[in-house]
């Protein structure tokens, strides 16, 4: 999509003009224009979901998720504000305390969107009361590993497995605080599912919940993508 097409309608994001194509959301148009709005359950390759609420922006004083907000001409959108950063920090802290996250020795550390967005919004502690949930690990598959303790219920794997891999390996079960990622197989285990290590469902996981087994430390923690740069400057694959 050409960014120099002057005939496209525009909206305003933090005082700057952003062009959009019909049918685009504020998030999609912002991403095309190289503008970063923090987000976790959204990914440019997939249909919006709007559940993590991290991409919340203000329109006319009203909070809306930019990933589901249809772009329209003349819309005045605020994303960069201290208040919104505080909200986003609280949301990310909530995602941390409801699971069990151990960044310092997590295989995904430095490549993890949750960790990177947390850094981006200035998170220094977890702030809220930890739930310390007991969530089952699925290590049954020879090539793929599922640690639900690190799952933030973004449903990107659900969408990727269905839309890209054509396998529908994942679904959401339970509800409330007991909402959980289900594996679509007779036993409910990955080993009896159609998952494969190169599936988009694995690579799209923003955290260390779904990982290919082996090779996790070929690049040392400290030298990884978001160890050396803020996620706002490395928007690829987000």
């Amino acid at each position: 999509m050409s960014r120099t097409d002057d005939s496209r309608p525009t909206f305003v994001l933090d005082g700057e003009t952003v062009p959009f194509s019909p049918g685009q959301t504020v998030m999609q148009a912002a991403q095309d224009a190289g503008r970063y709005i923090p987000h976790l359950c959204h990914h440019r390759d997939f249909a919006p979901r709007g559940s993590c609420k991290v991409c919340t922006v203000l329109v006319g004083g009203r909070a809306m998720t930019s990933c589901t907000l249809a772009a329209s001409a003349g819309l005045d959108v605020t994303s960069a504000s201290e208040a919104l950063t505080t909200d986003r920090r609280h949301l990310v802290q909530m995602l941390f305390v409801e699971g069990n996250h151990h960044c310092p020795f997590c295989e995904k550390s430095g490549d993890c969107h949750l960790q990177a967005v947390a850094t981006h919004v200035g998170m220094q502690d977890t702030h809220f009361e930890h739930a310390f949930p007991t969530r089952p690990v699925d290590a049954s598959h020879p090539d793929v590993w599922l640690d639900r303790s690190r799952c933030i219920l973004c449903e990107l794997c659900v969408r990727a497995s269905h839309d890209v891999d054509g396998k529908s390996v994942f679904a959401i079960g339970g509800r409330g605080a007991h909402t959980t990622l289900l594996v679509n197989s007779p036993s409910g285990l990955l080993k009896d599912s159609a998952i494969a290590r190169d599936d988009r469902a694995i690579s799209v996981c923003p955290t260390g919940a779904l990982l290919p087994k082996g090779g996790a430390y070929l690049v040392a923690i400290g030298a990884r993508r978001y160890d050396v740069a803020d996620i706002a400057t490395k928007p690829e694959d987000t």
Partner: protein, 596 residues
């Protein structure tokens, strides 16, 4: 859609299951209805049923498991052949429900929430069953249990222990009364079946429809579900959309303390269906659904009867009252989920899915059931629509206020002399309503249920109206000596149990609030915790995906702000509040993750 190997036929090895499934159309929309029947027949949803339903719909096993795991009344592990749910609503608690539950468990030798070894019985706590005016209440195998007492609990335990079929239990155990203490224009004006529709089709539908839309607009009727959106505006928006339309009636009366639709469903179903039919003729819908909460399953046979009779009378079917327009209604039962009262979650549930509220816009009037423009209204709204068609807008507007025309039904329960149903004109003060129901020494009134507002005595001069104190029908009274912190704590737990889990602020925020409420109740809270309540609540109210998360903080916030005295003597200083021993008490237990 899935590469998981599955059988290509729905024939299972179980003839009873095959027979049961054969009675449903093989469509996703039938999944929840089929699951309900499987649960009732087998006390759980066995893997073979999940496999058969997944094949029907061309979805994965996990998708069906996800539906089972979403609804309270479905289970993948067997519950008792007598499955008893005792209402854990706040008014039931005021009437001693906790002791009754413990008594029943003890008498039957069963642990709450677990099925007895021989599979005979399980006893569960459940959210408000809509019988607060005759509690403590509950359900046994989908039949309502009312006016429970220790003596009756003993009798029930004996009947279960000796495996007496429910048909042979004393009928009065199941007899739901609908005490009405005040009639206004709605409850004093029954309509003969077809009388309201007649006004729409004479001289012809094209004329009658536009005339009625004008009448509806002039009446100023606002949705009785609680949000108060203009009924005419909703219908008009739907009417102007192209393509086939759908009408849904929200009979998922889940707000704790609300039971007014129970009366209408039991005694005013004709008027309700007539209102739905008028809506269908006005917007051009051929399909309708009544979404009935699972707790009201006992009313389903009556509703089916009414629908069947109206088909015979030509009031539903391929040519409604000779108008040339077709409209018919399907009864759809829920399976235990408060959030399904939210209109987009309700539509998802009708489609046989988990009741997750949709992103709005688009609103249902643009894209609702199966993406078709959909009008969703409350039971009471449809009843009043039918009455407006017969009596006109001036008649309707004669009561109520300018911004809240007409009357509304209140479900009054709690510490009052006469619990039950009251039809009141909008605009009555809280004090006037309290005098009507014989409440004395009142400490607080919960107007609109836990998602509404807790009103202190200083505000009893406020009016029940959309412009002051809106309510979806609940009016719950608490005597001055009631522990409001405990009331708020219970409601906070209620929301945590009912959060659908979709969005971060509600899913996590509800749990944070329960932990804080528990800490206050245990006398371990501090000023820092009070501040934390406000911080979490503020985030939830602004950023939650739907009304559930936006209103879930109300009970706790209202108690802390309107009734600060509840914390007197219960707070510690911030420094004293951290209890190292309590915080590390479970560390010896070494909780490990389960390995498959």
């Amino acid at each position: 859609m899935t590469t998981t190997p599955m059988t290509t036929t729905t024939t299972t090895t179980n003839p009873v299951l095959d027979d049961l499934l054969a009675r449903h159309p093989r469509s996703p929309g039938a999944v929840l209805q089929a699951l309900r029947e499987v649960q009732a027949r087998f006390q759980h949803v066995p893997p073979v049923a999940i496999e058969a339903l997944a094949t029907w719909c061309g979805v994965g096993l996990a998708d069906i498991r996800g539906v089972v795991g979403f609804y309270h009344f479905l289970s993948d592990v067997p519950r008792g052949r007598y499955t008893v749910y005792l209402s854990d609503g706040v008014t039931d608690r005021l009437q001693g429900s906790e002791a009754l539950r413990a008594q029943l468990c003890a008498r039957l030798g069963v642990v709450e929430g677990e099925t007895r070894g021989d599979g005979l019985v399980s006893v569960h706590a459940t959210s408000c069953t809509g019988l607060c005016d005759q509690g403590p209440a509950g359900l046994v195998n989908e039949r309502p249990l009312v006016r429970l007492t220790p003596r009756r609990i003993d009798e029930i335990a004996e009947l279960i222990a000796t495996e007496v079929p429910l048909d042979h239990w004393p009928p009065d155990f199941f007899t739901v009364a609908n005490p009405v203490w005040r009639h206004e224009q709605t409850l004093s004006q029954p309509i003969a079946p077809g009388a309201a529709l007649q006004t729409l089709v004479v001289p012809d539908l094209a004329t009658g429809r536009m005339a009625f839309l004008d009448t509806l607009k002039a009446s100023g009727l606002r949705g009785r579900g609680g949000a108060g959106f203009g009924t005419w505006r909703k219908w008009e928006a739907c009417r102007l959309q192209p393509g086939p339309k759908v009408i849904t009636c929200n009979a998922d009366e889940g707000e704790p303390g609300t039971f007014k639709d129970r009366l209408l469903l039991m005694a005013w179903a004709d008027e309700m269906v007539e209102g739905m039919t008028i809506a269908a003729l006005c917007v051009g819908a051929a399909t309708g659904f009544i979404y009935l909460r699972a707790e009201y399953a006992f009313i389903a046979p009556h509703l089916d009867e009414v629908l069947a009779r109206r088909r015979q009378q030509g009031l539903l079917g391929p040519d409604v009252l000779g108008s040339g327009a077709a409209f018919d209604i399907t009864l759809h039962l829920g399976a235990g989920a408060y959030v399904c009262g939210e209109e987009t979650a309700l539509i998802e549930s009708i489609e046989g899915k988990r009741g997750i509220p949709r992103t709005r816009p688009p609103f249902p009037v643009e894209r609702g059931h199966l993406s078709m423009p959909t009008v969703n209204n409350n039971v009471e709204t449809f009843v009043q629509v039918a009455q407006i068609a017969v009596h006109g807008a001036p008649w309707f507007r004669a009561r109520g206020t300018e911004l809240s025309p007409g009357t509304r039904l209140l479900s009054i329960a709690g510490d009052v002399a006469r619990p039950g149903l009251y039809e009141v004109p909008w605009g009555l003060t809280v004090d006037e309503v309290l005098a009507d129901c014989g409440a004395v020494d009142v400490g607080a009134v919960l107007v609109g249920g836990p998602s509404g507002r807790l009103v202190p005595p200083a505000s009893f001069g406020r009016r029940i109206a959309f412009e002051d104190l809106p309510t979806g029908g609940a009016f719950t009274v608490f005597r001055r000596d009631r522990d409001l912190l405990e009331v708020a704590r219970r409601f906070t737990h209620f929301f945590a149990e009912e959060s659908c889990g979709f969005c971060t602020p509600c899913r996590v925020g509800c749990v944070q609030l329960t932990a804080l409420a528990d800490r206050f109740a245990a006398g371990r809270g501090s000023p820092r915790d009070v501040a934390r309540v406000h911080e979490v609540s503020d985030l939830m109210e602004r950023l939650s995906h739907c009304g559930l998360g936006q209103t879930a903080p109300h009970p706790l916030v209202d108690v802390l702000t309107q009734f600060p005295e509840v914390l007197v003597g219960r707070l510690r200083t911030d420094d004293e509040a951290f209890d190292l021993a309590a915080a590390t008490a479970d560390m010896g237990a070494n909780p490990t993750t389960e390995q498959p």
